[in-house]
C-alpha cells in the first residue's frame, strides 16, 4: 500500500556474474572429467599388464599401482570439492545476501535464478562424483584372470605324486599322508607310533587362502544370474551362496563348521535392508 513492493530489485550485473560463474564451473568440471576418463581408459590395460607381469603370488605390484591410481583420482575429487567450497558456495552466499528478502516479490526473480544456479552446479558436481566412483570401480576390477582351477588341479596331481613318498623321521618306516592337508599337521607313524609333523608345500598352503576365490570362480555363473535378475531375486542369491559354500567345503572339508557359520552370517546380512 506504500508502494514498497512495486520497487523491483534490478541487478543485471549479478545475473551476468551468475551466468559466467556457472559456465566456468561447467567448463572446469568437464575438464576434470575428461582427465579422469583419459586416465582410467589408459590405466586399465596397463593395470592388466602389470597383473600379468607380476610374479608375486599376492600380486603386490598390481596393488601398488592400483593404490597410486586411486590416489591420483582422489586428488581430482579433492580438487572438485575444493573448487566447489571456495568458488561456488561462497559466491552463492555472497550473492544471496545482496538480494532483498526472500518473502518479498521484489527479488523473486534473482532468488529463483540463484536457486537454479545452485541446483545446476551441485547436480554437475554429483555427476562428476558418480564418474569418480565408476572410474575407481573400473580400475579395481581391471585385473588379469588367474585360473585357480588349473592351479588347484596341478596341486592335486602333485599331492597324489608325493603322498606316499614320506618316511618316519624316527624309525624310517613308510608313511602315507591320508588326505590333502593345507596346514602343518601331526601324522602318526603306523610302526613306531611317533608323532611326525607334516608340513605341506608353500603352494598348497596358499591354496587354502584361495579356496574361496576358487569356489567363487566355479559358481560365478550363478552370481551372474542373480545380478542380471530384475528386480534382484534373493532366492537366486541364496542359491548362489549355497552352491559357492558347497564348493568351498569340497575344497577345504576341514573348515565345514566354520564356513557354515560364515554362510549363515552372509545370508542374514543379505536379508537386512540397508537404507
Amino acid at each position: 500500500m506504500f508502494g514498497f513492493f512495486k520497487n523491483k530489485y534490478d541487478n543485471p550485473a549479478l545475473l551476468e556474474e551468475i551466468r559466467q560463474t556457472e559456465e566456468k564451473w561447467f567448463v572446469f568440471m568437464d575438464k576434470l572429467e575428461t582427465r579422469l576418463d583419459e586416465l582410467c581408459a589408459a590405466a586399465i590395460p596397463e593395470l592388466i599388464a602389470v597383473f600379468n607381469q607380476d610374479t608375486d603370488p599376492y600380486k603386490r605390484a598390481h596393488s601398488r599401482m592400483l593404490t597410486g591410481l586411486i590416489g591420483q583420482i582422489s586428488q581430482m575429487q579433492q580438487k572438485g570439492m575444493e573448487a566447489k567450497e571456495t568458488h561456488i558456495i561462497p559466491f552463492m552466499q555472497a550473492s544471496g545476501s545482496l538480494l532483498p528478502d526472500l518473502m518479498s516479490s521484489a527479488g523473486r526473480k534473482y532468488h529463483d535464478r540463484l536457486y537454479r544456479f545452485q541446483m545446476a552446479c551441485f547436480d554437475r558436481h554429483h555427476q562428476f562424483e558418480d564418474k569418480v566412483n565408476e572410474g575407481i570401480a573400473a580400475l579395481r576390477s581391471a585385473k588379469g584372470n588367474t585360473d585357480l582351477e588349473a592351479v588347484y588341479q596341478r596341486q592335486l596331481r602333485e599331492f597324489e605324486r608325493i603322498k606316499d613318498s614320506f618316511n618316519c623321521k624316527q624309525c624310517g618306516g613308510k608313511m602315507s599322508i591320508p588326505k590333502m592337508f593345507f596346514i602343518a599337521t601331526y601324522i602318526q607313524c603306523p610302526f613306531c607310533q611317533s608323532q611326525n609333523t607334516y608340513t605341506p608345500s608353500t603352494e598348497i598352503q596358499m591354496l587354502f587362502h584361495q579356496a574361496r576365490s576358487l569356489a567363487e570362480q566355479r559358481t560365478a555363473h550363478l552370481l551372474q544370474d542373480y545380478e542380471n535378475s530384475r528386480p534382484k531375486n534373493p532366492a537366486l542369491y541364496q542359491q548362489y551362496l549355497r552352491a559357492m559354500f558347497d564348493e568351498w567345503n569340497k575344497i577345504t572339508p576341514d573348515m565345514v563348521a566354520e564356513n557354515e557359520r560364515f554362510y549363515q552370517r552372509l545370508l542374514k546380512d543379505h536379508s537386512i535392508n540397508h537404507y
Partner: protein, 80 residues
C-alpha cells in the same frame, strides 16, 4: 584432451608402472618350500612323542615339550 596432456598421462602411467614393478615387496620374495616331514624328539632323552602318551610331555623322562594347555583345533584335540 590435447596431445601434450595425453603424453603426460602416458608418461605418468609408465612411471607408476615402473615404480610398482621395481619396488621390493615387504619381507622379500615369497620362498617356495617343498612338503616335508619332521619329528620333534625329546631333547633330554631323545625319545619320540606318541599321541598315546600325550603330546605335551615326554612319556619317558617327563620333559615338557610345551607348557600351554591344548584346546580343540582342526587336527589337535585338547585330550592330546
Amino acid at each position: 584432451m590435447s596431445n601434450a596432456e595425453k603424453k603426460n598421462t602416458q608418461s605418468y602411467l609408465e612411471r607408476l608402472k615402473q615404480q610398482a614393478l621395481s619396488q621390493e615387496n615387504y619381507g622379500g620374495a615369497v620362498k617356495y618350500d617343498q612338503a616335508n616331514m619332521q619329528v620333534y624328539d625329546c631333547p633330554e632323552c631323545a625319545a619320540a612323542r606318541a599321541p598315546a602318551d600325550g603330546l605335551t610331555v615326554c612319556a619317558y623322562c617327563g620333559f615338557k615339550f610345551m607348557t600351554v594347555e591344548l584346546s580343540d583345533g582342526i587336527h589337535i584335540k585338547k585330550e592330546n
